[in-house]
Amino acid sequence: MVELLFRRLIQAATVMLAMSMLVFAGVYAIGNPIDVLIGPDASQAVRAEVIARYGLDLPLWRQYLGFLDRLLHGDFGRSFVYGVPVLDLILVRLPATLELTLSAILIAVTVGVPLGMYAGYRPGSPAARAVMAASVVGVSVPTFWIGLILILVFAVWLGWLPAGGRGETVRVLGTEWSFLTLDGLAHLVLPALNLALFKLALMIRLARAGTLEIMLGDTVKFARAAGLSEWAVLRHHVLRLIAIPLVTVLGLEFASTVAFAVVTETIFSWPGLGKLIIDSITSLDRPVMVAYLVLISLLFTLINLLVDLAYAALDPRLRRARSAA
């Protein structure tokens, strides 16, 4: 297990290195790097000073190394718009995004997997058809439009839930959390649901496809022949067998959920990272863009690492094979 972890960590570092190159190429090389570092209204003298300080007259690979060096020291520069270090800006908003994302994934899994398993267990039944129809709409309807409709129905027409913001928060472990207060929870419901719907539909489809296939297989037939109840077959055999693809997809989808939070946060004025990146793109606040992309890549890499470890914990074949290798 330790060896596996070690190997994965080296892989993760490699991926991060590649990602940082891409981000460097994407933002620094395509755009004018000076614009990234100083405001457009800076004087000629400041300009020359910055070029010299950041070595922008050096060859590209030297520049990249310098960029990497600053990254490793947590120096992402200052935001043009807010005038504060970018890293602080991001760290303050990260918890809000994580809170939203994790709530969405929790909803998607706890609701989606049972529904999907049912749809795969009784594929022809009216309830299963209804679930599948809903899931087709769920993967088809763009997140942003669902968000609008949720606001329209629950905030504008019914007036049950607030249309935006985080509501009252509680300070725990040095950061603010919404889900610990009733008001905060009320503010969290709509955005979390909005962000969850696509993943929910995806979980339904995956769980259904897996269940459908496994129900036809010999494992289920053998378990039934031994007298296991349908519930035991689903609970102990089917769920265990579909868990691996579900975890894989969930890991991959976590990244895209964080990304889609950009959309949800914009619609619901949720003060997280997504809102920050949208603002930074429209105001050309490039240091914020760079920092966001690098940190998001880091987050994805970490999640992939966790998924791999979860794999090993879930699949006995992998566990023994890897520790033996």
């Binding site: 590649a18 763009p142 329209l152």
Partner: protein
């Protein structure tokens, strides 16, 4: 298709005809196909069927702005779905918006398919280190959410149709490449390809005649999903303001324009274009699902 690539058929039916026959048995899918065809037709014929040219600013009157569905405007005809903030007839704006959304979806989806298939099949045919490295790159990109990539690219490249298509293609080709590579690599390891490679046939010929035709079915399945998600992604980007310029309003732009009026209860400006988008994307996905189920041999009995 070359004669060799056509599978042996023992019944009198051609595979295509049997495919169509099975498709027809699913009424929902058939209805979805009809909806897609209807929407495409409406979008193509937009200049003929729309009651108003939404780009003709002279024809707009602010007196007609933000009127609810059923309002009879200064043009003397009924705005069945209401008007937007500029006094545009929403039906007309939607028809033209559909045109642009479809255009972007087909263009970006089609290009992503072509580039992805080419990349995937080439990597599979090359194999070894180079093919492996190509796919490593694709995998790396796949671990990065497509929407974020499209988002950053369209922000970096600036607004415009071509820039947006480029962003969408860059965000989507990797998925196709993975699919095509999977199928092509499986084919490459079969004995007959190895046998063909050992004959004087050129590598390109083997690639073209044997590997590509066998890699196509899964790619076809992905195709409809790609077009649907390109349309959806385009709408999302335009909604966030980094997609198409306001001079070329797609459905996403229309929805974005209406968002600010929603809280005051003028729902129609956002809701109806959104419904059109949802119906279109859902119908394409249903058709795609049916094709996938029919092509998936594991679900066949």
């Amino acid at each position: 298709m070359t004669p060799e690539a056509v599978p042996q058929v023992t019944t009198h039916e051609t595979p295509l005809r049997r495919f169509a026959g099975e498709f027809r048995e699913n009424r929902v899918a058939l209805a979805a196909l009809a909806v897609v065809a209807g929407i495409v037709l409406l979008a193509v014929l937009a200049p003929l069927v729309a009651p108003q040219d939404p780009y003709d600013l002279a024809a707009l009157s602010l007196r007609d702005a933000r009127r609810p569905p059923g309002f009879v405007g200064s043009g003397g005809y009924t705005h069945w779905l209401g008007t937007d903030a500029q006094g545009r007839d929403l039906v007309s704006a939607m028809l033209y918006g559909l045109r642009i959304s479809l255009e972007m979806g087909l263009l970006a989806g089609g290009l992503a398919l072509a580039i992805g298939t080419a990349a995937g099949v080439t990597a599979a045919a090359l194999g070894g280190r180079i093919g492996g490295a190509m796919m490593r790159l694709v995998d790396l990109q796949l671990s990065f959410p497509a929407i974020l990539l499209a988002f950053v690219l369209s922000a970096v490249l600036g607004q415009g149709k071509l820039q947006l298509v480029a962003a969408l293609v860059a965000a989507q080709y990797a998925y196709v490449a993975r699919t095509a590579h999977g199928a092509a690599a499986a084919e490459r390891h079969k004995d007959y390809v190895a046998a063909a490679l050992s004959t004087p046939l050129s590598g390109a010929r083997v690639l073209w005649r044997h590997i590509l035709p066998n890699a196509l079915p899964p790619v076809i399945v992905v195709a409809s999903v790609q077009v649907a998600s390109a349309i959806s992604l385009e709408a999302t980007l335009s909604f966030l303001g980094v997609g198409l310029p306001p001079t070329e309003p797609s459905l996403g732009t229309l929805i974005a324009n209406g968002f600010q009026y929603m809280l005051s209860g003028r729902y129609w400006i956002s809701v109806f274009p959104g419904l059109a988008l949802v119906v279109l994307v859902t119908a394409v996905n249903i058709v795609g699902d049916q094709i996938r189920d029919q092509l998936n041999p594991r679900l066949r009995r």
